[in-house]
């Protein structure tokens, strides 16, 4: 009675990136679509997935095989992880990455997310929440990857987004004006996070009026990609950016979509502009391939690697330095907490006496509201009350937040939105648990328990 189910995958096809038209349905040319598919033979039409879909993208009546409407689907994978029959499948780039790993010219980089380190071990029999950090880095290295922890990029995200938020506070709350604040004049509060690609596609499709509120800062992965091919290529790895093959390892299937967004080739544009690569180089994306945690486990299995048996010892590398703020990104409320730790420090000049802002942690609640008093150094300690909200799971809650803001748009200054209940730890790319009999389990003889 394994605790983790096997999920079927399928490779991308030529049509997955769309045709020549600029738009096909809701997708732009080049954006990956059809990332999640329901197997028509295995689906019994039980309607469980329908309840978990945040955008009502699943069609089919009770008892009849269901299908996903590509236009409405945000590729979050909640249907997939909740299907009792494992009838939903994911587009996988495992074969493509395996090929790259075998290519001696390619400098393949694994970019693992915070939520992956507390779940990937489940694929190898560990209990839920088992933390594998150095063991994971060692496993990736043995598989042929170089490591660049997304958490490092997450810290970068906080610095960027925190700065952006503070500018908005200075302009919209404190009434300051200036050249450096011109940009935020077009972006009123509340400020919404942008790191969840399912949330972003949801907003673009169903709540476009929120677009000006969404942070312009990219997600940690989409910062890591450009930094790998510009900063790290030049200052750390000393490699030609064109040889770097960035593979993010995510708890999320929507990240597969995010990486394919045509505008996410910033490194290429920057390098061309600064004449660091020839002008006729064909464009390349910042992130070349996305593997879910399950996909990464599959690569380990194919190569006979078990992260749980790898050594826990490892020298700290520049590319893997991260703070506590970064690692909690994977839990609902984590981005908010991380942003507040830094924003508080910048605005008040002092660190929070207690960095654990449990007030904003999502846990099992749908929407968490909190007010964080921040003393402003620039105004001699005058306190502003920063009103925040954490949306823990998109299903009903995005509409609820929109309703509340329509009622009173000043209700919140900062809103974190995570599509998946509980945060990325419960993402569509994570190991799928069978949720077996909890009290029966300890009574079973050992062979049946594994």
């Amino acid at each position: 009675m394994s605790e983790v189910s096997k999920i079927r995958t399928f490779p991308p096809s030529q049509e997955s990136w769309g045709g020549e038209a600029a738009f096909e349905g809701m997708h732009r040319k080049g954006e990956l679509r059809g990332i999640i598919k329901i197997n028509q033979d295995n689906c019994v039409g039980c309607d469980t997935c329908t309840a978990f879909c945040p955008t009502e993208a699943i069609k089919g009546s009770l008892g009849v095989a269901h299908a996903i409407s590509t236009n409405k689907c945000v590729a979050c994978g909640q249907c997939l992880v909740n299907c009792p029959f494992g009838a939903i499948e994911q587009m996988s780039f495992v074969d493509i990455v395996m090929e790259k790993l075998a290519d001696p010219k390619a400098f393949v980089v694994s970019h693992p997310a915070p939520a992956v380190r507390v779940a990937i071990a489940e694929e190898f029999g560990a209990p839920a929440g088992e933390l594998t950090i150095n063991r994971l880095y060692n496993a990736f290295e043995k598989a042929g990857f170089h490591n660049y922890d997304i958490n490092f990029a997450a810290d970068q995200t906080i610095l960027e987004e925190g700065t952006e938020f503070i500018k908005k506070v200075r302009y919209w709350v404190l009434g300051e004006r200036g050249e450096d604040l011109e940009h935020v004049a077009h972006h009123p509060l509340p400020h919404f996070t942008s790191c969840c690609p399912a949330w972003v596609k949801n907003a673009e499709t169903f709540h476009p009026q929120l677009i000006p509120h969404i942070s312009g800062a990219k997600s940690p992965i989409q910062m890591g990609g450009p930094l790998a091919k510009t900063w790290a290529a030049e200052f750390v790895w000393k490699k030609d950016p064109r040889d770097i093959y960035m593979v993010s390892v995510t708890p999320c299937t929507a990240k597969i979509f995010e990486a394919s967004r045509p505008e996410f080739n910033s490194a290429y544009e920057y390098l061309k502009e600064n004449n660091k690569i020839p002008q006729d180089t064909p464009s390349f994306q910042d992130i070349d391939a996305v593997l879910t945690a399950r996909d990464a486990a599959e690569i380990f299995r194919r190569k006979g690697i078990n992260p749980l048996t790898m050594s826990d010892e490892r020298e700290m590398e520049t590319m893997n330095v991260y703070t506590g703020a970064a690692t909690i990104f994977g839990a609902s409320g984590g981005v908010m907490e991380a942003a507040l730790r830094t924003a508080y420090f910048i605005l008040s000049g002092t660190e929070l006496s207690n960095p654990d802002i449990t007030l904003v942690r999502g846990y099992e609640q749908d929407i968490v509201e909190a007010t964080i008093p921040v003393p402003l150094k620039a105004l001699n300690g005058k306190v502003i009350n920063v009103k925040v909200a954490v949306v823990n799971g998109a299903s009903r809650n995005i509409k609820e937040i929109v309703k509340r803001l329509t009622d009173d748009k000043n209700q919140y200054h900062f809103v974190e939105v995570m599509n998946c209940p509980g945060g990325c730890v419960n993402g569509g790319g994570q190991p799928v648990r069978t949720m077996g009999t909890s009290w029966l389990h300890p009574l079973l003889p050992l062979p049946l328990r594994a």
């Binding site: 019994v44 039980c46 978990f52 008892g63 009849v64 029959f85």
Partner: protein, 229 residues
């Protein structure tokens, strides 16, 4: 005496049984058509609507019987739960049916005396009652609470509902129904418009211990009684 008859199925039991039977068959047929993908999507939607609507009748029928006729229900359970030496002895020759129906000389010729239900009926009907209850519970939980149940529970309930109902239907149609037709007096008693009585000879043949222990003469009049519930 050809005039002597025994009330075997009171009206409440006939009502329960017959409504149960009709609704069960509609549920089974609609269910199988949908599950085995024998119909197109629009028809499947219609079938499912029937399935749910008839399921309401099926549920109320069972619940109504248990609640409004609790005495009959508990009496029936008591009869089904009498497992004595004669009950187990019945299995030695499966009540004599293989010999009688197919000429297979299985076990002794003598059948151990049975009560209200023979041993085969006891196990079958206990299974049927368990299935009726189980299908009602799993059915409504699947319909209303699928996402809440959790995946493993969902799969167990779903498979119980689909395969349990199929097994029970096969037993009902393949064993229960033919045997009922063979015992034609029981069949007539169950389905006629009127009292569910059988000849005393039949009762003595099939359920001598029931006649001996549970029955009482209700009339000493020459002319027959009017049927009453």
């Amino acid at each position: 005496m050809s005039n002597e008859r025994v009330l075997k199925f009171p009206m409440s039991e006939k009502m329960f049984h017959n409504i149960n039977m009709v609704t069960w068959m509609i549920l089974a047929i609609t269910g199988v058509l949908i599950y085995f993908k024998q119909v197109g999507e629009a028809t499947a939607l219609l079938m499912m609507t029937f399935h749910i609507g008839i399921a309401i009748v099926f549920t109320l029928n069972f619940v109504g019987f248990v609640v409004l006729n609790a005495d009959r229900f508990f009496l029936m359970l008591r009869n089904l739960l009498i497992w004595d030496a004669d009950t187990f002895a019945w299995f030695k020759n499966l009540g004599g049916y293989p010999r009688r129906l197919f000429g297979i000389p299985f076990g002794p010729e003598e059948v151990a005396p049975q009560g209200r239900f023979n041993a085969g009926q006891k196990f079958t009907y206990l299974f049927f009652i368990f299935m009726i209850f189980g299908l009602i519970v799993t059915g409504w939980l699947l319909y209303f609470m699928a996402p809440v149940l959790g995946k493993t529970t969902m799969v167990y309930f779903f498979n119980f509902h689909v395969w349990g109902s199929i097994i029970a239907t096969v037993m009902a149609v393949g064993a229960h129904l033919p045997l009922a037709v063979i015992n034609i007096e029981d069949f007539k008693a169950m389905f006629r418009f009127g009292a569910g009585d059988v000849p005393l000879e039949d009762a003595l043949h099939h359920a001598p211990k029931w006649v001996e222990n549970d029955l009482v003469k209700v009339s000493t009049l020459e002319q027959p009684l009017k049927a009453h519930r």
